[in-house]
Symmetry: C2
Subunit: 191 residues, 2 copies
């Protein structure tokens, strides 16, 4: 591996936020999955979670442009399993949901360990997922459409988290565990 | 038209921001176009601009879920024509560009009349467009990918504009001209 590439990967590792993630509940259009993984990588989310109701090979292809090498995708059998995993990691669980009781997405403190649940393109988030979450949040809309594209909605939450974490000084000091850093340095050096 | 629908359309018209727009420079994937128009509608952009280098019938289909009825798409022959139109309307022109000299997208004052230029999926924004713009802006990225999905990037800028305009009290008073309101009320009432 060239010294430049090593430095680039190390700089990226210093920005990773191990206590921030998204969980995709049956999001299945490849272009949405790709866009979401790209955004996760861009703000330093090292690992995302996914629950698929049908076959689960949809993460191949699309235009995630290499980000899948850098963002680990954890598949789970059910949303219950996925949330249990996030709870073990001490995360608050935020469901994005187009309901009356949802609060503005900007009112949440994303400097806390946080998992954000995103719903399926057509049907949205499940009742089961809602029941497991601490808060429902909504991105305000003042037009005629009922919802935003799911990759757009997740990016708005993730960049709000990035803004808050940047202000709180949470970037630029290594927070990812050493074994994971070594794995990424090894795999990234020998692609 | 039912009284409820009339009230809904009137409420939407009170939120429209006639002095905020995006211009798509050869953005051509239908799912990106659809997502961008949905987001425009959601924050109250009444009209977007598009320059297509190939055939220009790509806005049909996709999942803009009815928003194309509510957001006017103005096609232009060239980026020069498009920018001339925005300048006539007194707008500052902001180019999104992955360059060294680009400033953070959050440092711009979007309460001013503003047009945001978005580049093509593969090639990005053209030199011609950059030369016509007042500022280059970038959405900060700290991962390994080179760029965000174009509909994601435009949504981040538009929702930053929404945040600033909301804080400045620019929503909730009718700012769209009366003829355009009448057209939308008529067409929306007789879809
Ligand atoms: C296209 S939407 C699903 C629409 C579905 N008809 C519903 O009512 O939930 C897909 C997912 O995008 C996210 N989403 C879309 N618009 C949102 C908004 N304005 N606020 C929060 N989440 C949103 C949610 O995760 C949602 O489950
Ligand atoms: C996929 S990118 C194009 C990448 C192209 N290789 C380049 O270097 O410009 C498509 C468009 O999305 C927007 N975009 C993507 N990521 C961005 C970012 N981080 N900041 C600002 N704009 C971005 C720009 O409008 C860009 O032209």
């Amino acid at each position: 591996m060239s010294p430049e590439r090593l430095a680039r990967i190390n700089a990226m590792l210093d920005m990773r936020q191990p206590d921030l993630t998204i969980c995709l509940e049956d999001v299945h259009k490849p272009h949405n999955l790709s866009a979401m993984i790209r955004t996760a990588d861009a703000i330093g989310v090292p690992e995302v979670h996914a629950v698929f109701l049908g076959e689960d090979n949809r993460l191949r292809g699309g235009t995630a442009t290499g980000s899948q090498q850098w963002v680990k995708v954890n598949r789970h059998q059910s949303i219950g399993d996925a949330v249990a995993r996030m709870r073990e990691q001490g995360m608050q669980v935020i469901a994005t949901n187009l309901s009356e009781k949802a609060v503005d997405f900007r009112s949440i403190d994303y400097t806390k360990p946080t998992a954000i649940l995103m719903g399926q393109e057509k049907t949205g988030i499940s009742q089961e997922a809602l029941a497991l979450a601490d808060h429902d949040v909504i991105v305000p809309m003042v037009g005629m459409v009922q919802s935003l594209n799911v990759s757009v909605a997740s990016a708005l939450l993730l960049y709000e988290a990035q803004r808050q974490r940047q202000a709180a000084g949470m970037y630029g000091q290594r927070r990812l565990d050493e074994a994971e850093c070594q794995r990424l340095l090894f795999e990234g050096g020998h692609p």
